[in-house]
């Protein structure tokens, strides 16, 4: 569409409701909170300290160690999602979107069910299944002769994070699946038919026709995964508690933030340090999103159907 110079009130009208609600109920409170990162509390008084909190966060060994540990864990968490969740989601969507597949909606709903479960249930169910005591996983593995592979995964530092990431993958695969599915649906049938006549079917139809056409959606799920993972919190909290055991091996930025901001057990909430962590997280995510928005999204070609 062309640029026109005359005033375009409709743009304002389209944007206004969202911007108003969002600014008032979301941005304002959030930034009001982030502002706290520049303050600290001394003798029940709020004092402006500039970047002191950040200096503590990155300079103080105790804080920075936790922060980098959480950040590193977070990247691993994200990595697992990227290499496991999204490909599985895309594969499932690709299979499901096959126009003549029977029971597709049944499969689709079934696969989506984990996504609608609450974290309490997910945490409970998986702890029960993986529990070395109640024996679902051990006996299942036993049944296929792999009992020796069993370990109390959630309790071992080396496995816990990966296990949780995989549980999270299990839970959220529905999201990339549905998004990609929606994107695949919008590819005009005729283009695929033309491909079929050209001998491009099955896998090659996916790689050569569908994939390029859904790339923007893949971009979206990547960035959503990124944002979602760096904000993740509930699952770990439900499964491992706010201390993200064992020995902080499952601590990610979300749990670190929560613990600091709201406090935990005897640890009192510290909104100031908490905000500093939130700000740091925000900056990390913002950088990621900007890389996506300006570096990738603008380069992705979109096709109109």
């Amino acid at each position: 569409m062309s640029d026109r110079l005359r005033p375009r009130w409709h743009i304002l009208v389209f944007l206004a409701p969202a911007v108003l609600v969002y600014t008032a109920v979301m941005i304002f409170p959030l930034f009001n909170t982030l502002r706290l990162s520049l303050f600290t509390e001394v003798e029940q008084e709020r004092v402006f300290v500039g970047l002191q909190n950040f200096r503590t966060l990155f300079g103080d060994a105790i804080w920075s160690e936790q922060f980098w540990n959480a950040l590193g864990n977070n990247f691993w968490f994200f990595f697992i999602h990227m290499v496991v969740q999204n490909p599985i989601g895309v594969i499932l969507a690709a299979i499901l979107s096959h126009p003549r597949l029977r029971f597709a909606h049944l499969y689709r709903s079934a696969i989506f069910i984990p996504t609608i479960l609450s974290f309490v249930i997910v945490g409970f169910a998986w702890k029960l299944i993986l529990s070395p005591i109640w024996g679902i996983a051990p006996s299942l593995l036993d049944a296929v002769g792999l009992k020796s592979l069993f370990a109390p995964w959630l309790g071992k530092e080396e496995y816990a994070l990966t296990t949780l990431a995989l549980i999270s993958v299990w839970q959220f695969v529905g999201i990339p699946m549905m998004l990609i599915y929606a994107a695949l649906l919008s590819i005009p049938e005729e283009i695929l038919e033309a491909g079929e006549c050209d001998g491009i079917t099955g896998m090659s139809a996916f790689w050569k026709i569908k994939l390029p056409l859904i790339l923007p959606s893949i971009g979206i799920i990547s960035i959503l995964t990124f944002v979602g993972n760096f904000n993740a919190f509930d699952l770990i909290y439900a499964a491992q508690g706010a201390l993200a055991g064992p020995d902080f091996s499952t601590d990610i930025l979300g749990t670190f933030l929560y613990r600091t901001f709201f406090g935990f057990q005897l640890q009192l909430g510290d909104p100031h340090m908490g905000s500093a962590i939130a700000t740091a997280m925000f900056v990390i995510i913002l950088i990621g999103v900007c890389i996506y928005l300006f570096g990738i999204q603008t380069r992705l070609r979109r096709y109109q159907f």
């Binding site: 569409m1 640029d3 409709h10 389209f14 944007l15 969202a18 911007v19 609600v21 969002y22 109920v25 979301m26 304002f28 409170p29 959030l30 009001n32 909170t33 982030l34 599985i88 979107s97 126009p99 003549r100 499969y107 689709r108 709903s109 696969i111 069910i113 984990p114 974290f119 309490v120 249930i121 409970f124 169910a125 029960l128 299944i129 679902i136 006996s139 299990w170 549905m178 998004l179 599915y181 929606a182 649906l185 919008s186 005009p188 079929e196 099955g202 923007p216 979206i220 960035i223 959503l224 944002v227 904000n231 905000s275 997280m281 995510i285 913002l286 928005l293 096709y303 109109q304 159907f305």
Partner: protein
């Protein structure tokens, strides 16, 4: 339908993959469901066993129905979820349309601004939100929850919908413009119907956290009259002793409504809405 294009081998493989994954997806859910019908002892003695005559128990469900007005909670959850989704979809789609369709100064910045919300957990803004709700007298009303969820859902909605709206053929919108349709009509009559799959997707994505949210109901509307289902079920999670029967029952029941909503929305995932539009 079309026999010629169905490859039995591929079809079998597809079904195999899907079945496998369905089993993986449903197994834990199955575990929860069967256990919600067992006595506590049976849950932990043999978590995998089906409820048998002696282990069968609906004690969990009974507890749930005894404790609190679950139908009211259910209704509250429903109202909050549906209203929030409505506003998220409406406002989100409008903003997404503005971003996807018009080139104006600050377009990308506006997009970024609207995405900021997904980068910080909204929980940390709780106090300010709560203060605002207290000031406006909205505490313990469902409206407070609806407002928060709407704001919370908007960034994602705008993000996803604008991407999908960019795919709607310009010629189609232009045909509308030439037909004299106003930009509003183009949005409501042409673009919205054509991004139905995306709208459904966004609805489903937002529905889940709203439905399952515990935090804001706890803080903004913990009153008995405004309790949501998730909050209501939380009663059974104690400090030291968790009534797993009741938790499993309550949460199993809470799956149903979302599942129904999901099915309703996913009916909008229709193929070929745009086919036949342009040559």
């Amino acid at each position: 339908m079309n026999k010629a294009r169905r490859n039995p081998l591929n079809t079998a493989a597809a079904h195999l993959i899907l079945l496998t994954y369905t089993v993986i997806a449903l197994f834990p859910v199955f575990v929860i469901l069967i256990n919600s019908f067992k006595t506590r002892k049976a849950i932990f003695r043999e978590p995998l066993a089906l409820p048998s005559a002696e282990t069968f128990s609906t004690i969990g469900y009974e507890t749930v129905f005894k404790q609190g007005d679950f139908f009211l909670y259910f209704q509250n959850s429903m109202i909050v979820t549906v209203c929030s989704l409505f506003f998220i979809l409406l406002f989100g789609a409008m903003a997404a349309f503005a971003l996807a369709e018009y080139r104006f100064r600050g377009n990308t910045l506006m997009g970024l601004y609207l995405a900021l919300g997904i980068m910080i957990p909204i929980r940390i803004g709780t106090v300010a939100i709560l203060e605002m709700m207290v000031a406006t007298g909205l505490v313990n009303t469902l409206l407070a929850l609806i407002l928060v969820y709407t704001a919370q859902g908007l960034p994602l909605a705008v993000f996803i919908l604008s991407e999908f709206m960019k795919q709607v053929s310009d010629d189609l919108k232009n045909a509308g413009r030439i037909d004299g349709l106003s930009e509003y009509t183009i949005f409501f009559r042409l673009v919205l119907p054509l991004v139905r799959p995306a709208m459904a997707t966004v609805a489903v994505f937002n529905m889940i956290p709203i439905w399952n949210d515990l935090w804001f109901p706890l803080i903004l509307a913990p009153a008995e009259a405004t309790k949501t289902l998730t909050l209501g079920s939380q009663v059974f999670i104690g400090q030291f002793v968790t009534d797993w029967n009741a938790v499993l029952s309550a949460l199993s029941m809470a799956i149903l409504p979302v599942l129904i909503l999901y099915v309703i929305f996913s009916r909008q995932l229709i193929r070929g809405i745009t086919s036949g539009a342009v040559k």
